[in-house]
């Protein structure tokens, strides 16, 4: 295990043909951290991961492990472990051989390799399946083999490329906890790529939100969740309502159809009279005396109803409520100013 204090990405850039897939990614990863690269598909998060792993050469920038430059090394000499989206298990090798492959390649003595392989198999609860081929396992079991194979070599960094995206919803939740538990127990520094904001928020110590190959925000789950850096991050992190409006003073705005909202939180430089976008989560829209809206669509979500409603002006809003709403119902809604984030429009 090549332990490090920090792993530094310095202006990591990757172009495909003329298109920039990733532009100037600067990031310092501390030992033991769990970092999530979050963004919609095509945002450059997988490109970043492949650049880190050494599977894609950089177009520009550099990667440093403490004082050692890494981006010039081939993947087999970086000492990272990687979990692939499709698991990439060797189909002709048993579970045990898959897991011990990395130890063999690193020339670990046979007895120690066997001990560590056994330990890894136990860690992911696959004792009864050790002799099977990957094709005989279920998706969740294959996933666990892939994780065991990556962590058994005690890599200085584990890279995970949307490892849960091929699992069903129940298994996904279970594996999420499992991965987080492994990270806590083994203290493995992890970079985790996902497009699922809930997954990123619940697992990571720090989030890197990407869009169009550029970093939008780096911060703790709380920071990113409560104070997205711009309207795109807000949109991606669950602020489904993005309402156009205008700044009327240094701390109040006018949203079309809703009148003046005082003391909303401004994010970014906004001058009086500038066009703005006010963002609010569906769960923060309150039903009570305010603007009358008509329910268009109501989805049953157990204790809550998620509804799409329309104002008289034709503005669409999303809200969540415990009230039993049905399409065609008329209710009044308000936007609590403390829950409103205002971005430059």
């Amino acid at each position: 295990m090549t332990a490090f204090t920090t792993l530094r990405l310095d202006g990591v850039t990757r172009r495909f043909g003329g298109a920039d897939a990733l532009t100037g990614l600067d990031l310092e990863i501390r030992r033991g951290e769990f970092i999530a690269l979050l963004g919609p598909s095509g945002c450059g998060k997988s490109t970043a991961l492949n650049c880190l792993a050494g599977l894609l050469p950089l177009s520009d920038g550099s990667i440093w492990r403490d004082g050692t430059r890494l981006d010039t090394l081939p993947p087999e000499r970086r000492g990272f472990g990687m979990v692939f989206q499709n698991y990439a298990l060797f189909p002709h090798m048993s579970v045990r051989k898959n897991i011990s492959f990395g130890l063999q390649m690193r020339g670990v003595p046979r007895a120690e390799a066997r001990r560590r392989t056994d330990e890894a198999i136990r860690l992911v609860h696959l004792e009864e399946h050790a002799g099977k081929l990957p094709g005989q396992l279920s998706g969740g079991q294959q996933q666990r083999v892939a994780i065991a194979r990556a962590v058994v070599v005690e890599p200085s960094l584990v890279l995970m490329d949307e490892p849960l995206s091929n699992l069903d919803a129940k298994l996904r939740l279970e594996m999420r906890t499992e991965i987080r538990r492994l990270h806590q127990n083994l203290g493995l520094t992890t970079v985790y790529v996902t497009h699922d904001q809930e997954e990123a928020l619940s697992m990571a110590d720090r989030l890197v939100v990407l869009r169009g190959g550029r970093v939008q925000q780096i911060g703790s789950p709380e920071e990113v969740h409560n104070r997205p850096a711009n309207r795109h991050v807000a949109d991606f992190l669950g602020f489904r309502n993005l309402l156009p409006g205008k700044a009327v003073s240094a701390s109040s705005i006018k949203i079309n159809g809703f009148g003046v909202r005082p003391s909303a939180s401004f994010v970014g430089a906004i001058g009086v009279g500038d066009p703005v976008v006010a963002a609010i989560r569906p769960e923060d829209v309150e039903i009570g005396s305010g603007l009358e809206v008509t329910v268009d669509v109501a989805e049953y979500h157990g204790r809550e109803i998620a509804a799409e409603v329309r104002t008289a002006d034709g503005l669409t809003l999303h809200l969540r409520t415990s009230q039993r709403l049905a399409p065609g119902d008329k209710v009044e809604v308000t936007l609590p100013p403390s829950r409103l984030l205002v971005f430059p429009g």
Partner: protein, 295 residues
Amino acid sequence: MTTSALALRHRLAERGIDPQLFLLVPATVFVIALFVYPFCYGIAVSLQPAQGGALAAYRAFFTDAYQRDTITTTLGIALPAALVNVLAAVPIAYRMRGKFRGKRLLTTVLVVPITLGTVLTAEGLLGFLGPTGWFNRALLSLGVIDQPVTLTHNYTGVFLSLIITGFPFAFLLVLSYLSGIDPSLERAAATLGAGWAQRFFRITLPLLAPGLATTFCLTFVLAFSVFPSAILVGDPTGSTRVISIAAYEAAYVRYDYAAASAAAIVMGVVELVVISVVLGLRSLLYTGSTAGGKG
């Protein structure tokens, strides 16, 4: 239709008996008319020689060294040719998997010899590699050799001709087998610390091996029935007197159809033996999916 008739149809369909079976009719007719019938006819003819018992033609074939040795001569050309074709195709196909600029052009160049046919290839070889061909003249004028090298009308000529016509088949087959192997497997092996040689020999080759066995069988069969080039660029009375020449001579020089059929049947049996050995070895290999998982 009554319910019982429906139930019967359903039960038959579950066993694979349904109207789609009619789609197999043309192929079945073809195989019977063009393979099964001639094959049985050939066996029958070979068992009815003009003189001697039913097996006289076979006895004559195996007791006459001039006929018998055609088996080893043919194997001596076809086995190495098939092996070289497969082994040469692997590195080229390995380099050419994935996408790159000019791939289509390069593939076309590599595959064009299929369209030439053996006779044209033989003509070309004679003109290029013959005693007064470009190849010898170039070497002579460069002073590399004093005497022209004999590359035609011998074993080498036939061997080269089989490489030229057989390689495209081997290459196309190996390329398609290689493209079927999930590229993320090698990437996973790389992140686990495997260098290129380990990646190739521990991951790619084991997954490719069954395909190589199949490719070997096909190119072997092509090479084993070598006839035009054995005569045109070979030494048809000596080192390249292959089994098909023996059959041809029996049929159209000596008009001994029993002997000709016997030679042809022997030829088929030898091919079957080689193919069964190769496929037997293949069955010992991992032959399942070459994907890395779900997704």
